[in-house]
Symmetry: C2
Subunit: 234 residues, 2 copies
């Protein structure tokens, strides 16, 4: 086996795509091997160590570890930017790179909103309607405007393009009831997600995640709460 | 007036230090002028524009605008990294820079936790006790371990050092009841905050914020809720 197929990086995340796929999709898109650890017992053990004993002091996954140097990183947006630099998916011009990072932060914020801040409470009908009818469309308009400005969807694919696909492509895969919302409020973004997801190496990886974890989204009681809201929206 | 004292950047934020100070402290520390707009009517007007009409499509402040080029950025962690690059406060080595960005994300997460996700609900006694007795000490241990590893507190001051001061120095200034928590669980971080805050240009800026906004923390009902919890902790 050639050394280039020996993964240099290992990712640690819960057994779902939710935040981890922002990282794994970058590697899959660039056809660079990545070791992936989704065993929840392993994750829970790493989390429960005292911060001084952890490879990097952290609160929650994902983690990315450089198996050559042992250097480890937590915090999805920091990992995405670092890995993108290694994988050739980050613009070199500082403002363009910052705008990509801003878009990843937007993705991260919307993830937090849909999962009610890591499930800190469940959805009520009233709050969900406010989210689906006002807040989610506003977020989608923000992404669509970013596309119109050329901050995403350009000639050269960046980590922001793949991040938007990790956010909305995965959301649509796991919660297909939301696809019409994306088509209505962000038709260009919907097309961008289809383009990014059509890359064969990435499509193969998404298929592997589907086989491993099905349509599991963020997991836990909060996923049940989202699905309950979606069912009663019908 | 020499052109070097004409601000190149303008920051837009609500009238408090909360997230904006992560940006303004960088400029103050480096003695680089920054135009600051804290008028809530201006902020509300910018936020309510359609995303396609905004200087950058965004949901909430802070914003940083380059007055020379018009290039604008939202999302505090993205702004901090970009401004730090311009101000000479970012490490050039990619992993070191990523670790600094990870620490800013940690700061951002702790801000979200103490303000209950932008005031999406109020504190209950039980949740506050869980936060103050377990979650906040764990976060402080994470920062203390980052200091022990040399990721902050090194010879060269970075945006991560200033970010930790923007988080905990400002928290202690506005909510002094929490200073003993920091001294107990992160004594080295407490000393680091004192060192960073002793820089005369930064101390002068903090004093200006205090004169303008007093000890206002995150504002709104959620600040009242935090203060109610602190009062009943006595």
């Amino acid at each position: 086996m050639p050394s280039s197929s020996t993964p240099r990086f290992q990712m640690f995340y819960w057994p779902s795509a939710f935040r981890g796929c922002f990282i794994s999709y970058l590697f899959a898109y660039q056809e660079v091997p990545l070791l992936e650890e989704y065993n929840p017992d392993v994750i829970a053990r790493l989390m429960s160590q005292p911060p001084g004993s952890q490879d990097i002091p952290f609160i929650g996954p994902p983690l990315l570890k450089d198996l050559k140097t042992g250097q480890t990183l937590s915090q999805m947006p920091a990992i995405v930017q670092y890995a993108s630099h290694e994988l050739g998916l980050a613009p070199s011009e500082p403002y363009a790179a910052a705008v990509c990072q801003k878009i990843i932060m937007d993705c991260n914020d919307l993830l937090m909103e849909i999962c009610q801040y890591n499930g800190s409470r469940m959805w009520t009908r009233e709050e969900w309607q406010e989210f689906r009818n006002r807040r989610f469309p506003r977020w989608l308009a923000v992404f669509e405007a970013s596309l119109a400005r050329g901050d995403i969807g350009g000639q050269t694919v960046t980590f922001a393009d793949i991040g938007v696909y990790a956010l909305l492509g995965n959301m649509i895969r796991c919660l297909p009831e939301l696809e019409p919302d994306v088509q209505t409020h962000a038709p260009g973004i919907h097309r961008l997600c289809q383009q990014i997801g059509a890359k064969p190496s990435l499509a193969a990886h998404v298929s592997e995640l589907e086989q491993a974890f099905g349509k599991s989204y963020c997991g836990g009681q909060i996923e049940a709460s989202i699905r309950e809201m979606l069912a009663s929206d019908e």
